[in-house]
Amino acid sequence: MRLPVRMPQFGESAAEAKVVAWLVKPGQAVKAEQELCEVQTEKSLLTVAAPEAGTLGEIMVAADGTVAVGEILAYLEIAGAGADAPPSAAPVAPSPLAPPPSPAPAPAAKPPQKRSALHAATGDAGFISPRVRARLDAHGLTVSDLSVIAGTGRDGRVTAQDVDAYAQGGEPLTAVRQAVAAAMMRSWSRPLATVAMPVRLDPLLEHRRTVTGRPSLTVYALRALAQAIAAAPTPLRGRLVGNRVHQCAGIDLAVAVEVDDGVITPVVRKVDGYDLAALEAKVSGVVESCRNGRVSDLGDAIATVSNYGTFGITWATPIPLAGQAFILGIGAPVNAPEWDPASKAFTRIRQAELTLTFDHRLADGGAAGRLLAKVVELLQNPSRL
């Protein structure tokens, strides 16, 4: 009797696997549960075992071949009467994770299957009723989320109740986090790239003592960015809408401000119109309002400045807001050695990494790098700010 050995369903999501090697040759006798071949899924290397003792017959999928779940890998010749008849009660596949028995040939007790071979091979887990689809939409889930839900319906189908139970577990996201999550997903759908450059801070730290209000590093960065944008045209001033670039009229920049359970990004309009002292006063006021729960302006801006260095982070790639082409990040200042050609020795300087994460559809690394270099140059020459 000839028994098909099928590709079992390993785990919940793999739909196919690659045969790495056959461990047994055709004609060779095998014991029940003896390993027949190795298969590689996306996640792991696994073995397929013989469902019964017998002799390995024809191999249907050679090494390096790809096999779908439920497809026949090889045939096993086992002792017993009748050709091609299935065993009456023996499982077709060896693993407890195996798919339901395939309909062809179907065990006598099973009612005739009405579905296609594909459905039969994978169970009916692939069927999504309109109601289940609507439940997924209502919970903000996608079809790909179904693979982690254990279906309780017919043949492992996921039911609307399964979706509800899965979606209603855990704790609800706060409103602020939901807003951040939605904004980040919108932004993440773009190709983003990051460029970075160190900035020497000693001149700036010296300079800020001379300015009223002792402006923060964020204020210096805002001022330098505004001047860099004003000084030379950059494609990153625009914002891509479909296949058209919308230009921001004024040099409006946002500041990332941490609040309870999230980040908000109030906008300072016409940053180039403020000197450092005035900008420090303006930004302090805006940040203070945000922390008191009052935000005056969350509208459009060219970009955001994020001083993630205040958390001790030296380098990061924050995601720009969906309506903005880039975000300028400021790392935490650190001590760094700098070669002094005059004294032929390393001297200690204060240094921070600046990062610029940008929408790669609008600009390339060159344009982003030039903008960042200009910001660095201005910050290292604070008298020009």
Binding site: S129, P130, A134, R154
Partner: protein
């Protein structure tokens, strides 16, 4: 006081005659002591002399006289011996009664009583469920009571209604359905509202008239299998209470419509189409119709049973829908 379905109809006719002098009955063999083919009017001619009138054997003429009387301010109740023969009055009902208010602004408050539905041995001309023809026409109200209480109240409401009403009374229920209380005290729902006769979570099963009882019969063995059906009695077929059906399908995700009428067109097809259009995102399985066979109604009782949906066939269709 107890009452059968036919007694509730007789009671409603008597009460309407007693309360409203505009009401009169017009039908074949209803005056005198005969009391009509199914005895719905028995005794009423003696109680209300001159208001229970015999017509010639012409449904067309009966309907025309009724429409004329309604236009003149009366509330006629036209009795056809069998719903099958309402086809002879079809032009009067759908072209004249149903359109008159829309054409002239003058209402036609006529009630047409149609003894409908199948009984074994009735054959092709005495068993038809004719709502499929009548519900296609805007302007005609079509009702089909399934309970003794509804037989009473819906006939009273039909007579009181300013629109023409086709009142489909099920012949099998006439003497097979009885309640031990006064039908006039039974619960009264407004015309146009469906009733949930049994609540269930797994499948919405919609029917009307005699088939409601087959659905309720099917519910018991299904419950033993762990399948709880929600049985909705439409009561009124035009207008159709789609809101009640949709609300139920939102809960169950599944719809079966059982009818002893034919599959092509008709109320079951309309309801399945409506739910597919407006309730698609609530469905776990395709809406399904269970209808009579698509042939004329056969005469022999064995063939009649094969032609007609029953509790067993309803249960089987529910299982298929639930296991889709």
């Amino acid at each position: 006081m107890s009452s059968t379905y036919i007694e509730a109809i007789r009671r409603a006719l008597g009460d309407a005659l007693a309360e409203d002098p505009r009401v009169f009955l017009y039908g074949q063999d209803i005056a005198g002591t005969f009391g009509g083919a199914f005895k719905a009017t028995k005794g009423l001619a003696e109680r209300f002399p001159g208001r229970v009138l015999n017509s010639p054997i012409s449904e067309d003429g009966q309907a025309a006289v009724g429409i004329g009387a309604a236009l003149a301010g009366c509330r006629p109740v036209i009795e056809f011996q069998f719903a099958d023969f309402a086809s002879v009055a079809f032009n009067q009902m759908v072209n004249h009664a149903a359109t008159h208010w829309w054409r002239t602004g003058v209402p036609v408050p006529a009630t047409f009583r149609l003894p409908a539905g199948g009984t074994p041995g009735g054959g092709p001309f005495h068993c038809q469920m004719v709502e499929g023809w009548l519900t296609s026409h805007p302007g005609l109200i079509v009702v089909a009571p399934a309970t003794v209480g509804d037989a009473y109240h819906m006939l009273r409401d039909a007579i009181a209604c300013d629109d023409p009403v086709a009142y489909l009374e099920h012949k099998h229920l006439y003497n097979h359905l009885r309640i031990d209380t006064d039908p006039s005290r039974a619960e009264r729902l407004p015309l146009g509202k469906a009733a949930v006769r049994r609540a269930g979570r797994d499948c919405t099963v919609v029917s009307w008239s005699g088939m409601v009882h087959e659905c309720l019969k099917a519910a018991e063995p299904l419950a033993e299998q762990g399948i709880e059906i929600e049985v909705i009695d439409l009561r009124c077929l035009r207008p159709l209470d789609t809101a009640t059906v949709l609300a139920s399908v939102e809960r169950t995700g599944r719809l079966l419509v059982a009818t002893e009428s034919w599959p092509f067109g008709g109320v079951a097809a309309e309801l399945c189409a409506w739910i597919s259009e407006h309730g698609f995102s609530h469905l776990d399985a395709p809406p399904r119709r269970l209808s009579a066979q698509d042939t004329p109604v056969p005469f022999h009782p064995d063939l009649f049973r094969a032609h007609h949906p029953d509790a067993a066939r309803i249960a089987a269709a529910v299982v298929e829908t639930v296991e889709f």
